[in-house]
Amino acid sequence: MVADKENVATGAVEGETTSKKAAKKQAKEALKAAKKAEIKAANSANNAEEGGDSVDVSAGRYGSAGLIQSKEKFEDRKFVSVSELSQPAYRDQLVWVRGRVHTSRSKGKQCFLVLRQQSSTVQCILAVGDRISKQMVKFSGNVSRESIIDVQAKVVSVPNKIESCTEQTIELCIEQLFVVSQAKPQLPLQIEDASRAENPDDADSLNIRVNQDTRLDNRVLDLRTPANQAIFRLEAGVCRLFRDILTAKGFTEIHTPKIISAASEGGANVFTVSYFKDSAYLAQSPQLYKQMAIAADFDKVYTVGAVFRAEDSNTHRHLTEFVGLDLEMAFKYHYHEVLHTIADTFTGIFKGLRDTYSTEIAAVNQQFKVEPFKFLEPPLILEFAEGVQMLREAGVETGDEEDLSTPNEKLLGRLVKAKYDTDFYVLDKFPLAIRPFYTMPDPNNPMYSNSYDMFMRGEEILSGAQRIHDPDFLLERAKHHAIDTSKIAAYIESFRFGCPPHAGGGIGMERVVMLYLGLDNIRKTSMFPRDPKRLTP
């Protein structure tokens, strides 16, 4: 509506000045004739200006589309997505495109717009001509960035590649332009800045960055960058592949409660919520419920859902709420049946991402330069003792029963990468002492246990084990760990009615995406991250 008014006003001014300037204009026109012919391509340049200034020849062909309240259907408008525009079928055709104004630049009688649709961008051009009035060009140049517009335009191929857009071989000659939704002229952050490639080596490049907190405060704008678009599409891919692969392996998806009466993994790190007159907790993991589903003969189960951890740790890899991809599986005789299933699931996910999400990976890579994720098939499985041996060879003092410290974990990741050239590996047979009480000890060596961790780029992403399914033995182990058995009575009781041997593990989806893409912060892979310092948006 604002645009409409402006339109009228400028029209009036133009009318007054026409007579004075007419002569001058014509003289100029003769000089520029050659140049214009080049730029305007299809338009007949010479007589365009003469009649154009007094009457707005483009009236009705631009302006605000008004509030779209589903009044009209416009079924004749054929919309084409930006990424498809370069197809030869659309060459020299009139098409409709809806997109955001990425940048706009008007100079005199021309206006260049870059239209963005998710990660794809295309250059649009408006030049004053017999169908395009000066007013229209001016209006177009004043449409604020990030506004959504509908354009009808002709697809024209360009002689030189347009480096600044994803569609480099074509541009759009706009015929009609309507603003669907106007953005505020002042943006809290510029998409261009937010999507600027991070290359610390290149000192010459423009070094304007958007702070992580500014990004998160204005997440809606930040999410529009090509890298973010790609990250969350890829994240959806991880989730979909996880579901598809496990479903194909005969797993059943279950949904577990998130409000629970007792802390599932120890008492600490749990959020308390008021529950009518009582208090309840937010689930730290679906562990107990997965195992109960196994005891209830579901054989192989997985669940995708929110998991809450009240850890006050402000690190690059901790969130207080994240999406857990958990699975649990009954096995016949050896927990390696499960270990291989989980490891193969990972390999399947990596392969799926490599094969079907290559454009997304490339888009993320454009902004955040990282090495592509490498893995082996079948996955590399090392024993904990072998890992310790490798660390010692590298000169690190570490005990046999000592848990891997974070620096050691990273170093081991680098050593494995150097030797096997893989970013994903499994470490099997962890020392019993550093695992939870319900972990099954190794039958051959009481120092170790039937437990495993999986690592991506040297960071742990999954921790799992064969669980003790014998209630008496479980009781014994709980006592050994000095755990109050009355508090876990229900857990132990659930094994009293017979339970198959089982093992499983849980993954943090955000962490998998972060490490697959080699990003440095988990907040980049959580759409609306929750950490100890952030509860909004």
Partner: protein, 337 residues
């Protein structure tokens, strides 16, 4: 028979007064002695059967020569008498055996608490006669990166040739840069897995990774050694750590073997038929009338040549000389490529 010359002339040995008997190292015996001689601060060597014999031998009173048989038997009789009886010797032996048993137990406990293999030292840790009895370091697991177009057939050849001597335990992986490994490599993988693994033999663990890489390369420990490039060099490495029968560095013709392996290296890098033919001529010359490249016995040179020829499908039986064809048949029996 003839009489032995007495080695020690019979003369009196004057023990200097400044000497005193050595402390007995064996504690249990020592404690006994201490019990027996509780009255004196210094215990006397005569209380100990072993020390007694030693002192008796050298004792100035006896005037005996150790090599005089008559005297010796008399001395043994004497010794037996002086050391009370056979029982004490038996008891002593028992004690020593028991101590040994204790020690063994202790070792086993230590090993268990360290989480080591209960079976004792690994085969790879055995001492070798060939390197002067030095203890060999346990072998690192090694990683071999290979391109599916350049299958390292030598691995299979060595695995087959060493079937009864040494185990090469190969696990194969596909690297993410190599989604499809093709027919030859899959066939090779299958053949590798068919060779049985004998757990009693010394072994080396090999991870073969199909990867989009330029050279066949071997990494044993990234922190300690640099990678080894080229299949023949991997053969050399394996020849060095493998069974003794295939170590060639001490052989008189080790230079010859090295030369043959070098020809293989060049052969694999030949692009034209002409250069390949000249390499084959060189090989033919080296083989001459010998049964194998290293003489009468098969060596790693044969393995090298055989696997290189296998890797070059461009070389058909037509290109080979009759001697080479004959040789190939002989080697094929061992390597079974």
């Amino acid at each position: 028979m003839y009489e032995l010359k007495t080695l020690l002339p019979e003369y009196d040995i004057q023990l200097p007064t400044c000497m005193y008997p050595m402390k007995v190292l064996n504690n249990s015996v020592a404690s006994e002695v201490i019990k027996a001689d509780a009255c004196s601060g210094f215990y006397n060597g005569n209380g100990n059967p072993l020390a007694t014999s030693a002192v008796n031998c050298l004792g100035p009173k006896k005037n005996v020569c150790a090599l005089d048989l008559d005297n010796l038997s008399a001395q043994i009789q004497n010794l037996l008498k002086s050391s009370n009886d056979v029982d004490s010797v038996c008891a002593r032996q028992e004690k020593v055996l028991k101590q040994l048993q204790d020690l063994k137990q202790q070792m086993a406990n230590i090993r268990a608490s360290l989480g080591l293999c209960q079976k004792g030292p690994q085969h790879t840790g055995q001492t070798s006669l060939r390197n002067g009895g030095l203890r060999e370091e346990p072998l690192h697991d090694i990683v071999i990166n290979g391109h599916p177009n350049f299958v390292p057939y030598a691995l299979l050849a060595l695995k087959n040739a060493w079937k009864n001597l040494f185990t090469i335990d190969v696990r194969t992986f596909k690297h993410s840069t190599m989604p499809d490994i093709g027919k030859d490599a899959s066939e090779f993988e299958k053949k590798l897995s068919q060779v049985k693994i004998d757990p009693s033999k010394p072994k080396v663990k090999v991870s073969l990774i199909w990867k989009n890489c330029e050279h066949t390369e071997m990494i044993s420990s990234p922190t300690m050694y640099v990678p080894i490039y080229g299949e023949v060099n991997i053969i050399r490495y394996l020849g060095r750590v493998g069974p003794e029968e295939y170590r060639y560095e001490d052989l008189p013709n080790c230079n010859e073997i090295d030369a043959v392996l070098d020809i293989c290296y060049q052969l694999l890098r030949c692009n034209t038929t002409k250069s390949r033919a000249s390499m084959l001529r060189a090989l033919n010359l080296r083989l001459g009338k010998q049964k194998y490249f290293g003489g009468d016995k098969i060596t790693i040179a044969d393995v090298g040549v055989h696997s290189s020829l296998k890797r070059l499908p461009a070389i058909t039986s037509k290109d080979l000389t009759p001697t080479l064809t004959e040789w190939q048949k002989r080697v094929q029996l061992v390597t079974q490529l």
